[in-house]
């Protein structure tokens, strides 16, 4: 019995001990919970709050920002209510700027690759070392007389940074400042028909009928917020009936979904439809006769100085583009065509806009001409509700450069993206061809590549070849903030600030015709060891000898900005951003020719400019007829004499007949028709019998063609209408899918002559039976934790094709086949 008692006692004791220990722990924990741990409470937020104006650089829309800064961190981005582009509004991508600035995947210091080409190892280096290294390497190139072998791929060639790069290339001696942003095909029409090289605006706010040929008005075209604002205004704010928006497109995009009518059309036949509409306008005499007579050339048949008779636009259209013919080409029913044409002619002001979908084809230039011809037919050029030819921002001109002999010699070499170095528009090579040229070393070896806001390895067809090309170049320098696909091939990474950390200019894209410039100051201190690329250019120039240094008489980018905006101060029109009621009065005065200076000194102007976030030209002067037609005939040219002259000049130089050149440029028309807006059949990669579907890689507002992919918020909302998040999808017509035995959400293979991807199919009644759609911007293999490995990149399917006349990449010219995976 005693034994048992003892046993119990011991057990009891152990139990008590255990109890006591746990009790002690528990009570200690509880007390700790109840009262603050003093040491931990040194974190003491002050909540000091400021609102700082800036400019959004998530896309090229140029919206003004107000950043809410609390205790040195940006905690919210809102629109700048004074900025005329967005008036306090902001798109989803703009809001997600927070996730860009505070992204954990940012490159935090300058880095140098170790282990030579092909290695994926970088080491952090200091800025001085980095810039010295770069200056040394670039210096060597100049010493060897090869400054032209540097190419600068510039994805944001507008504004002062573009100008700074251009100036650097000039002073350094390379002709190769190459834009990599997506070209706007309508520019070709502006060049050939009006002799102007700029982008035109569209006075949508005053338009009553908007005929959009695949223009993604609400999906990121030019300035998304301004477009959305305009849309809202046209729908329910403007007095009178709602404006009509007709979307002619191969996919029911969000723009098409918000339009009054969606007209599905066979890819690449937009030009034919425009000509079909022209037929109705001409046949029913619904065109603007006064305008045609006074301001156009080549509408009727004409005889040139040598007495040769030429065919006019009218006869060409009446002969060739009868609605039934056009319907057969485009797949648009005849009655729809006639109805649209009549509405377009009678609902004035009516305006026709061409988008990338219509112009990035092998026949893109002619599509653009045909579409733009419609604007001339209704006489709606530089009028309220029409096409606007706007003013440039009056930046102060920079002092001329005294470049040295090496630079001058280098600049004389042909630009790498020009097939034959003739007129800038003719036969410009798309990016993928550039890669081939680097690989082939034609016309010369490339020794150095700068990547600024540019990611060609991701956004180029046959990107593996471009990657190979970068591998081959001895020096690749990237200014990226993220380790993207192209930066992965960089030997030197000089990370730029994100846009909230730096001084910058934000020119708004032309839309309202009014020049608008956003000016941004750094909102927060740079988070990491990054540096403004503008400052890097200046520092680089300073270290590369007298002549280069002399070309850049500024210490940093802020000075460049201050120097340049002096032009606005001195412009004698426009105004620092102001409340709309305040602006309205000044605008009325200025419209009547009055100029009241707002500030007594540039310093006062600058201070207010920075505080309010920018400067704007206030109003557009309509009907500058002498100004908007810079063609040989000083009129709007249906028959483009410039096109004719340049093609003939080239043929002559080569000593070949014109027809042979046309043959080479894949132009089927002959004679006068070549120089008139006409329909050229689009060419597609892949045979129809083997690859039955058109591939339509479409833009998504929130991805901005790829840069939005590492922002989790954007990934969460990417495929709204098909309920897809964090992934790509293939939109396929339900009936087509049924025939192929594909159900919603099935995995499918999409195969083109160039590649093959596995993707989830989504049945979408808004896709045409013969077209499948894949969003652009996903399928990264690098660029951050959230971007990498999600979805597919349709560029893997797209072939390297181009419109050889206009130098437009033919992004929509690939056929694919679909099979169940």
């Amino acid at each position: 019995m005693d034994g048992t008692t003892f046993k119990i006692e011991r057990r009891e004791f152990l139990k008590l001990l255990a109890g006591a220990t746990s009790g002690m722990m528990l009570s200690g924990y509880a007390f700790n919970k109840l009262t603050p741990v003093g040491q931990a409470y040194t974190d003491w937020p002050e909540r000091i709050e400021r609102w700082v104006p800036s400019v959004c650089l998530q896309c090229s829309g140029g919206c003004g920002l107000m950043a809410r800064v609390v205790d040195g961190n940006v905690v919210k981005l809102e629109g700048n209510p004074l900025h005329p582009v967005n008036r306090g509004r902001l798109c989803p991508l703009g809001h997600a700027g927070l996730q860009l600035v505070y992204n954990p995947d940012r490159i935090k210091t300058p880095m140098k690759r170790v282990g030579g080409k092909g290695s994926t190892q970088w080491v952090s280096i200091g800025w001085d070392e980095a810039i010295n290294l770069l200056a040394e390497r670039l210096g060597e190139l100049r010493e060897r007389g090869q400054p032209h072998s540097l190419i600068v791929l510039d994805g944001r060639p507008t504004g002062l940074m573009g100008a700074l790069w251009e100036r650097f290339c000039q002073a350094y001696g390379t002709p190769n400042h190459l834009p990599t942003d997506e070209p706007d095909g309508m520019r070709i029409a502006h060049r050939f028909m009006q002799g102007l090289d700029q982008l035109f605006g569209y006075d949508l706010e005053n338009a009553n009928y908007i005929l959009s040929f695949g223009c993604q008005l609400l999906d990121g075209w030019r300035s998304p917020v301004q477009l959305a604002r305009t849309y809202g205004y046209l729908r329910q704010e403007r007095p009178g009936p709602r404006a009509k928006l007709i979307q002619i497109e191969r996919r029911l995009s969000p723009t098409a979904a918000r339009s009054d009518e969606w007209i599905p059309i066979r890819p690449g036949t937009e030009g034919a439809l425009a000509l079909g509409i022209a037929y109705v306008l001409i046949r029913e005499e619904l065109y603007d006769r006064r305008f045609i007579e006074q301001y156009t050339f080549g509408f009727d048949d004409w005889t040139d100085a040598r007495g040769q008779h030429h065919k006019g636009f009218r006869r060409l259209v009446l002969e060739r583009y009868r609605p039934e013919n056009v319907s057969a080409i485009t797949g648009v029913p005849v009655d729809t065509l006639i109805r649209i044409a009549k509405q377009f002619a009678t609902t004035r002001p009516a305006v026709a806009i061409g988008g990338a979908e219509a112009t990035l084809h092998s026949n893109g230039a002619f599509n653009a001409l045909a579409i733009h011809a419609l604007n001339a037919l209704v006489g709606n050029l530089d009028l309220p509700g029409g096409v606007l030819i706007g003013e440039e921002i009056p930046f102060k001109r920079w002092p001329p450069i005294n470049s040295d002999a090496v630079a001058r010699e280098g600049r004389r070499r042909p630009r790498l993206d020009r097939a034959e170095g003739d007129a800038p528009w003719l036969d410009t090579l798309p990016l993928e061809a550039l890669g081939e040229r680097i690989l082939n070393g034609t016309p010369y070896e490339v020794q150095a590549v700068f990547l600024y806001a540019s990611n060609p390895v991701f956004s180029t067809p046959t990107s593996a070849r471009f990657a190979e090309a970068l591998e081959r170049v001895p020096l690749v320098v990237s200014f990226a903030s993220f380790m993207d696909e192209s930066t992965a091939y960089a030997d030197l990474i000089l990370p730029d600030h994100t846009y909230l950390e730096k001084w910058q200019d934000g020119p708004a894209p032309p839309l309202s015709g009014v020049p608008t410039l956003g000016v941004a100051q750094p909102v927060i201190e740079p988070l990491y060891e990054t540096r403004h690329t503008g400052d890097v250019i200046l520092a680089l120039a300073r270290r590369m000898g007298e002549t280069l240094a002399a070309a850049f008489p500024w210490t940093d980018f802020k000075e460049v900005l201050m120097f340049s905006v002096r032009g606005c101060y001195e412009a004698r029109y426009g105004r620092v951003f102001s409340e709309s009621f305040e602006g309205a009065f000044i605008r009325q005065l200025q419209e009547r020719g009055w100029w009241i200076p707002q500030f007594s000194s540039f310093e006062a102007f600058w201070e207010e400019l920075v505080k309010r976030g920018g400067w704007s030209g206030l109003f557009h002067e309509y009907g500058k007829w002498g100004h908007i037609f810079r063609t040989p005939s000083k009129r709007f040219e249906f028959y483009s004499q410039r096109l004719k002259a340049e093609l003939e000049a080239r043929a002559e130089r080569r000593g070949q007949p014109l027809d042979a050149l046309l043959e080479e440029l894949n132009i089927t028309a002959r004679g006068d028709e070549v120089f008139l807006p006409h329909y050229e059949p689009a060419r597609f990669a892949g045979d129809e019998s083997q690859y039955p579907f058109h591939l339509n890689p479409f833009h998504v507002l929130v991805l901005n063609s790829g840069s939005g992919a590492n922002l989790p918020w954007m990934q969460e909302i990417v495929g709204l209408h098909v309920h897809v998040k964090w992934d790509s999808w293939l939109e396929i017509h339900p009936e087509t899918a049924r025939k192929l035995g594909i159900a919603d959400g099935d995995w499918v293979w999409v195969e083109s002559p160039y590649g093959k991807v596995r993707i989830r199919a989504k049945l979408y009644p808004g896709s045409m039976p013969e077209v499948v759609n894949i969003p652009l911007g996903l399928g990264h293999t690098a660029s951050g934790r959230w971007a990498s490995g999600r979805g597919v990149n349709p560029y893997a399917l797209i072939g390297p094709a181009a419109d050889r006349l206009g130098g437009l990449p033919a992004r929509y010219a690939t056929r694919v086949k679909i099979s169940k995976a």
């Binding site: 604002r229 809202g232 009936p241 709602r242 909302i717 964090w726």
Partner: protein
């Protein structure tokens, strides 16, 4: 007492989802991993509902931005066992995270499915914590959350108005989504003030409310798409 209400003009809405992201930024809404998102655990107080109607080629897509309806007769508050969700005197349906026991009865009872649950404790990469809004708490795991009409903005607006010794004016208090709407499709104000924009628009013949026949009396009022010749408002 004002009765806060929102009007959304579907004819102006472009479906861009700026409201969705503005809300996420304003209210410290965590994003979830792709795997969680695939399970349906994305939190989005403001959500755009896409409705694809019709057959090719006459297909129509409607976009309906959907915040919390802030019902005058909310089915969710009735079922909350602990007063973690209730309607306050200004008509806002509040959600009090420190009180919530996470039974998800309110989420199941809400006919609009506007309530979200914190399946895990919300997480951000350390860098991204810096850009959280200090005016709004981050939620713990296991509680229900939803759109609050950005009521923290109301508190700030009220404090500011009082400090300036004036009444709250129209436009002083606007939720983040309304503030950001690029198309100007959203309006906000006091429904009890007959002169306010929302009250005027609410009387429009285009006005309707989601699932109106349920009698929940939502204070989010929609204006239907289409031609209309009545009075117009600029947001």
């Amino acid at each position: 007492m004002p009765r806060w209400a929102m009007v959304i003009d579907l004819d102006k809405c472009t479906g861009c989802q700026a409201c969705v992201i503005a809300c996420k930024a304003e209210n410290n809404i965590p994003f979830v991993s792709p795997e969680q998102a695939a399970m349906g655990r994305t939190i989005s107080w403001m959500e755009v509902i896409p409705i694809v109607e019709g057959e090719y080629p006459r297909v129509r897509v409607r976009y309906i931005p959907r915040p919390c309806m802030q019902c005058d007769n909310p089915p969710c508050t009735k079922v909350c066992p602990v007063y973690a969700t209730f309607k306050n005197e200004e008509g806002l349906v509040a959600q009090i995270y420190p009180r919530c026991i996470g039974c998800r009865y309110c989420t199941a009872a809400c006919p609009y499915t506007v309530k979200y649950f914190n399946w895990y404790a919300p997480q951000w990469p350390e860098e991204m914590r810096a850009c959280l809004n200090p005016d709004v708490s981050t939620r713990p795991k296991g509680v229900v959350e939803k759109c609050t009409f950005c009521h923290h903005r109301l508190q700030k607006a009220k404090e500011k108005a009082r400090a300036e010794q004036r009444e709250l004016r129209e436009g002083d208090y606007v939720p983040a989504c309304v503030q950001s709407c690029p198309a100007g499709a959203m309006f906000f104000g006091d429904l009890d003030d007959p002169m306010s924009t929302v009250a005027q628009l609410a009387r429009s013949a285009r006005a309707f409310r989601l699932l109106d026949d349920l009698g929940t009396e939502p204070k989010v009022i929609y204006l239907i798409e289409g031609e209309w010749y009545g009075p117009r408002k600029r947001a």
